[in-house]
């Protein structure tokens, strides 16, 4: 396959940045999107140019490191697929593909397609954990969890924190991410003692980071590589309302 790739190039946080067009030749339809960028980078390096910076780690769709806007869609055209698991066979020979970084004031661009997602870390630090004594692992049946709750908590826990929800949201809101984390812990017995404080603190942290408010449009769920369901946001809203009413 021969393609034209228009990539956002930005040398650093203070650079203004621009789209630059590159021709990429002889790409296998079985290559992943990131492998296509690898091929482009090899050529750029051989030519003495600066390679395109992008985040990636496991390339198995489970780490949440990769992610870019491909033709204006977070993680590209395939549903429930991370950028590393997107294959070039979903594009046609001769296509022009636009590649941009996530856009959000809370996710400033570091270089090219790499953004700083530490705002998500700050939301997790605000309450996305349980306080438990460390030591040997407790017996698996020490705390019984109903199967339905375990399944629902697991579904929420599949969020890999890639940031696609924020990138796709017309309001730049991180509600789906926060909702997934709050639901994951709130559905399990271990998450109950800190449940109220968690939701209040995590919402405060996301507001402080400069994310927008949710208007329930559902863009986030559409692009989420893990298919985190939109209704978890309703759960987050309820948890928040209950917690805000309870004196702490």
């Amino acid at each position: 396959m021969n393609l034209s790739v228009r990539v956002w190039r930005q040398s650093g946080p203070d650079d203004k940045g621009r789209m630059v067009t590159y021709d990429v030749k002889d790409i296998s339809p079985d290559a992943s999107f990131l492998e296509m960028l690898d091929v482009l980078n090899e050529k750029l390096i051989l030519d003495g140019d600066d390679p395109v910076a992008f985040d990636h780690d496991c390339r198995e769709g489970i780490c949440g490191m990769c992610g870019m806007m491909i033709n204006g869609v977070a993680h590209g055209p395939e549903r429930a697929t991370t950028t590393c698991q997107l294959h070039m066979r979903h594009f046609a020979d001769g296509d022009v593909i636009d590649v941009e970084p996530w856009r959000a004031s809370a996710f400033p661009v570091i270089k090219d397609l790499v953004v700083d997602r530490s705002a998500f870390d700050r939301i997790i630090q605000a309450g996305g954990y349980i306080t438990a004594p460390t030591g040997t692992a407790p017996d698996a049946h020490a705390t019984p969890v109903p199967k339905a709750d375990a399944d629902a908590a697991f579904e929420a826990a599949t969020c890999i924190g890639c940031g696609a929800c924020v990138a796709a949201c017309p309001n730049g809101s991180s509600m789906l991410f926060t909702a997934a984390k709050v639901a994951h812990l709130g559905l399990l017995p271990q998450g109950q003692p800190e449940r109220d404080g968690r939701v209040l603190d995590m919402i405060d942290a996301q507001d402080e980071a400069g994310f927008g408010g949710c208007t329930n449009m559902g863009e986030c769920t559409t692009v989420c590589p893990k298919g985190i369901p939109l209704n978890l946001i309703g759960r987050l809203n309820t948890d928040y309302r209950k917690a805000a009413r309870t004196p702490h």
Binding site: R6, W8, M19, M69, N71, G72, V73, D98, E100, R103, A104, S105, A106, A168, P170, N171, G172, S173, I203, D207, G210, F211, G212, G213, C214, T215, N216, M217, G218, E219, T222, P229, L230, N231, L232, I233, G234, R235, N237, T238, Y240, R241, A244
Partner: protein
């Protein structure tokens, strides 16, 4: 989060009013006497506990506060959303949310302009061709006369805008107030669409009845 709760609660209050207002409008099909009697009764509502028109003014105050709160919260949230994405995407296809969801903000502005016109038209009578406070039935008929097709057109567009606004707004309010199951989401979306349709049909039946001569 508090702002969104404010939007949901103030919005629902306004929807309640819309249903009461529609029920009153439909009295036009019972004839001039019935409709005018209803309009005069509104002024005496709350009597003998409250003096004449007091109830009406209390309701107007509550509704005005709700509208202002709704607009203020929406403005703050819209500005926050704008600030959350300072650099726009170069390539951005139309977002996949429904047309109703995408037009909430500008749709709201259209509705506000309509409400101002509507009050000047049929409450104060300033812009009404008949403007006889004793005979609201005649005012309505004069308003939607075929020669004044542009009034009917603007009215229709505004009511459709209300319909779209509520189609997403009612669902969104339910979600903000805690609707949280997938099944409930389907029900909430269906109910929002049904209620919005009932309001649109109810409100549009009046001008079109005048236009077609059913009410004259």
């Amino acid at each position: 989060m508090a702002l969104k709760l404010l939007m949901a609660v103030s919005g629902l209050l306004l929807v309640l009013f819309l249903f009461a207002h529609m029920a009153g409008n439909l009295k036009i099909f019972l004839g001039a006497t019935s409709f005018d009697h209803y309009a005069h009764w509104l002024r005496q509502l709350g009597a003998p506990l409250l003096p004449d028109t007091w109830y009406l003014w209390i309701q107007r105050t509550v509704l005005t506060v709700a509208v202002l709160a709704h607009i203020a919260a929406a403005t703050v949230l819209a500005r926050r959303a704008r600030a959350a994405r300072p650099v726009r995407y170069v390539h951005r296809p139309k977002v996949q949310g429904s047309y109703a969801a995408r037009t909430m903000r500008w749709g709201g502005v259209i509705i506000l302009l309509f409400v101002i016109y509507h009050i000047l038209d049929l409450t104060t009578g300033t812009l009404n061709p008949n403007s006889d406070p004793q005979h609201p039935y005649a005012n309505v008929v004069a308003d939607f006369a075929p020669a004044r097709w542009y009034v009917t057109l603007f009215y229709t567009l505004s009511i459709v805008a209300v319909g779209f606004h509520l189609r997403h707004g009612l669902f969104s309010a339910a979600r903000t107030l805690g609707q949280q199951t997938a099944r409930g989401e389907r029900i909430a979306r269906g109910a929002a669409l049904a209620l919005a349709l009932v309001l649109v049909v109810g409100y549009l039946s009046v001008p079109f009845a005048v236009l077609t001569g059913l009410v004259s």
